[in-house]
């Protein structure tokens, strides 16, 4: 089976052509770097996404946060629910872990508050 993808690893956005056989990636064409090949392989087997969002702070403001590693794509909305049901405590510095170990990653702050 052939599958066409747009690489999302960097803003170049290479058009990838992936050859899949029995759920295994046989070849990747169109990538300009090794990361594109890796992206195609995970995207066709177990797609992952980094999630960025905001989280309420105890003073009513919001702090931007991100997952410090990509999480399984189908878990994005569950992760949103966890973040939206939590409150971050000020003061916060860039890189602080706000929630530990959700879907194999940490939720970290991306701004000083």
């Amino acid at each position: 089976m052939k599958r066409e993808l747009t690489c999302i690893i960097c803003p170049i956005g290479c058009s990838l052509e992936v050859e899949i056989e029995d759920g295994v990636v046989k070849s990747v064409k169109g990538n300009t770097c090794i990361r594109g090949k890796k992206y195609a392989e995970t995207e066709c087997t177990a797609p992952m996404r980094t999630v960025t969002t905001t989280m309420k702070c105890d003073d009513g403001s919001v702090v931007p946060v991100k997952t410090d590693a990509p999480i399984p794509k189908e878990k994005m909305f569950e992760l949103m629910e966890i973040v939206n049901n939590s409150v971050a405590h000020l003061p916060i510095s860039v890189g602080d872990v706000i929630i530990e170990n959700v879907f194999g990653c940490n939720i970290v702050a991306t701004k000083n508050m």
Partner: protein, 411 residues
Amino acid sequence: MTDLVIVGSGPAGMSAAIAAYEAGIRDILILERDNRLGGILGQCIHNGFGLHRFGEELTGPEYAWRYEEKVRAMNIPFKLGTMVLDISEDKVITATNEEDGIFQIKAKAIILAMGCRERSKGALNIAGTRPAGIFSAGTAQKFVNIEGYMPGKNVVILGSGDIGLIMARRMTLEGAKVHAVCELMPYSGGLARNIEQCLNDFGIPLKLSHTVVEIHGKERLTGVTIAKVDENRRPIPETKEYITCDTLLLSVGLIPENELSKSAGVSLDRVTSGAIVDQDRQTNIEGIYACGNVLHVHDLVDYVSEEAEIAGKSAAAYIRGEKAESISVGIKTDGKIRYTVPQKITQNKDVNVYFRVSDVFRNVTVAVYKNGEKVFTKKRPKVAPGEMESVKLSCEIFSDCNELEFRLEQN
């Protein structure tokens, strides 16, 4: 008298300040109308910044923080909450803030780094009512990401620029339903990766060659009518379709914010709406430089920083009174290449020339002609209006001519 005044503290203003400092200038002042440093990046909480510069994908606030940390460590002075009102041709800056009232500063050199604003044009000529619920995508981004407030639940987005695409995903993650992104042109102006990860990931339809033809609702938006457009971009009546929604976001492009530049007598390029500059990013007014989105709209912040460093370094050389041997070479384009930055070369050194194309073209060569002769080529599998291109020209190309022509040729 201040050596260097920088207007704006986005990535352009901060990078320029750091570069000038590193080149030995200490008497620097950054003026920023917002109450924090960082510019538009503060509200761009998504990742995708700094891959070229730092080799990692940062979010907007993280990218800004890397520069703010340096500005603070270098003790470069800045004034927040300070709006620059006017710049005169002899480099007198008039500004205002709560503490100092209205004040003036004379500068040896000025770097313009005011960024851009969102176009609102697209909204003005749509038929129908003008209810609440219509926002520019950037305004919605500020509401959601800074103020923590969702502007609506059922959304249609007009325009497929990157901010619109990013907001489609952002509002979807926060529980809104984004019914469609309508794009007037047959191609998207946004990055391919954003179409993939912001629309396709969530099954949001991208309707190319579509526009909003009517707005409905008395107090709050209740829906929009969309339609397909023909090749002359005129709506086709039979294709009209009604979509119930409470929010319409407009993402119809950005335009450099150059009111101040005009008052300073800076000549603007009609295509970019930014200043006409040389390789140092110096405008037609000696000692006034421009960089970042105020010069031309960038999709990648890495290039903003790079450009601003050139401006900062050059301003430092100007302040020290260094003079280089000068030449004068203009750059002409063929229309398929819409513009170049810089638009002119005034010194004999290697130069990266940035440009944008007018349409999507495949298998093309960027060719540079000097006195009718092809002197440089670069092959590209695909170029698109949404993605800035660049070529590196070595200094020999600039000898014995007063004009170069950039052409896009089919392979």
